[in-house]
Subunit: 205 residues, 4 copies
């Protein structure tokens, strides 16, 4: 009675909502500074000193946006929601919904002596997101028992996604030497994901 593709649409709509809410809640990590003496100069100084929270907001926003684009492409090629896919998708939503936490942590501690810990946790968290994606790709695309639509072929970006995980591990390790280098790796990786993003037009060619 209910077509299977319909089930996927439901899952997609719910996942989309979680992505949209999580990405918008990131903005709550931007805090208005409280001043003891209120002068224009003091406000400018205080706002400028908050640069880590702006940086981490933009980093996480782009990360979740890319994750959303990839999630769409993944489900587009999927014909049914098996148990494994449902569980892996649930784990993905859990990790996506909590992205504001490592983001706020990075924003609060990047300009402090504890920057290394904040950057390592941030890179590790994005690496965890990447790992769950790899599991999802694997579930959908595996030659036997895969749930992909007939004629669907895994995009090149899928293979690149697998390469992402060791890079994030390096980013975690490097954070203890240079938090900036760690974030640079995270940023460079999402430039790569963006370039390789399976574009709608490409997917239809």
């Amino acid at each position: 009675m209910i077509p299977r593709r319909h089930e996927i649409s439901r899952l997609e709509a719910f996942s989309d909502a979680v992505f949209a809410i999580a990405i918008t809640l990131l903005a709550l990590t931007l805090q208005v500074p409280e001043l003891t003496t209120v002068t224009p100069q003091a406000l400018v100084t205080a706002l400028a000193s908050h640069w880590p929270s702006y940086l981490s907001f933009v980093l996480s926003f782009v990360t979740v946006l890319i994750a959303w684009v990839y999630h769409h492409r993944l489900l587009q090629g999927t014909k049914r929601a098996g148990t494994g896919l449902l569980y892996a998708n649930g784990a993905l939503l859990l990790v996506v919904s909590a992205v504001p936490f490592p983001t706020a942590l990075l924003g609060a501690y990047l300009a402090t002596p504890a920057a290394s810990v904040a950057a390592a946790i941030y890179a590790g968290y994005i690496g965890l997101l990447n790992m769950i994606y790899n599991v999802l790709w694997w579930i959908v695309a595996r030659p036997q028992g895969g749930t992909h639509l007939k004629g669907w072929r895994p995009p090149t970006s899928m293979l690149l996604s697998y390469l992402g995980f060791p890079c994030y591990l390096v980013a975690v390790a490097i954070a203890f030497r240079s938090p900036a280098a760690s974030l640079l790796i995270c940023g460079a990786l999402w430039v790569l994901w963006t370039i390789m993003a399976p574009m709608p037009t490409a997917a239809q060619a």
Copy 2:
């Protein structure tokens, strides 16, 4: 003019949105620690000491996710939205939307001498959620005056759901002796709900 099934879709879309928002807002219960002396070691220690908030976040996330899956199955078998169903659904949304509150409470007090009270309230709250589900199942599935679609049969998980309520009462009582045992019961129950979840494929068989 407007088909009745359409009304159910509307209710479903609104309920889905509330589920999606509530599940994502759970992440706001994760707070960035404030340190008096900022060192990498102090940040690690502070983050580690926040383990109850991570645990309660994951517990509640999975609980709301399972509640969403069951809610979908329930409405899938429903052909019209009677007054009783609308009221029970409204009560369900009220309880679901406020899940972040007992979650934050558990996160704040699980590692304190007040753990028993926090765990008892948490288990009682999840029990309340379970009770409303039982009412919803009963409204949809009762032999006379039920609102289920023709040919729809209540899944086995429905009967199990009725068994959940006394278990949650036990979890509340046991919290005053062992908060950990109480949460273990809550966790064990959602493992059961997950295994028994009326899968889409099963529902179509």
Copy 3:
């Protein structure tokens, strides 16, 4: 090219999302108490003393839920989104989105000497919501230039809605004598709205 009814659906979807988010954000007004000495007894006492915030949460949740039901019925009878309707709907969304503010205010001050002010503002705010509804009903239902679908007749609840406004004014005035009586009027009114709610089944009869 784009059917007019489609425009209404768009407006409806956006409005629905705002309703769903506002209703779920209400739960953020529930705050976990902070204790100086943490004992089970102290936590129970602190939680119990927060009863005004639970009461105001439930009051506002039901209010927004009823507002959502009525909004749906209103747009169901509407065939095109004129300028007046768009502006009035925008004003409605503004008021709905800010419901958490008077709710939090009531929760914070109902058990204090400033209860009268908090209750008066709360009743006035719900009265404002009612007033915007009356304008919306009037725009849709006016005999000439109305935007209702052919054959649509204003439900009885519409006329009752007009009676609501003076009642809310009374609730504001009475708040300075008895905040409890003021909230009782607000509560009694939504019991009335609920009973009179234009049910889907009734609307189709």
Copy 4:
């Protein structure tokens, strides 16, 4: 297999959700005052002194609402989501999602000696939003390589949108002399956008 127009619908639904969440989260910038001595008079005084946060809430709510209306009109005339459109849309969502931040800043500092800085940042932020719209209009409407539907013509409001940017620059500059004048320009501009808003009925004529 998947029509291109479908891709646009997806993008639209996700963008709509971000708009709806951001607009509703604005209400979180309204804070309940904390009093040292709780009397009805003190509460009234404290609430009245918060007028900048009410003003900035309304300003931002209307701004995001208008932005949503224009975004819809823009995508309605679009037939495919090219790379440029996707990136510009992503940048738009980033800016829209963070509107609560300059709003809270304006609310906190408009009645202080630092009003000039808060107003300049607010006007500059809305100017940034306007600039991204101009880029989006340009991408969709350019004569060669544009992505607009056949027969679609850019509405007059598009040309006006280009004129908005220098006005916002003036609003930034003027903020350092008169924060009120700066906000008046922002307000006057959205009155203009509202009047010129490409109405659904107009678009279909």
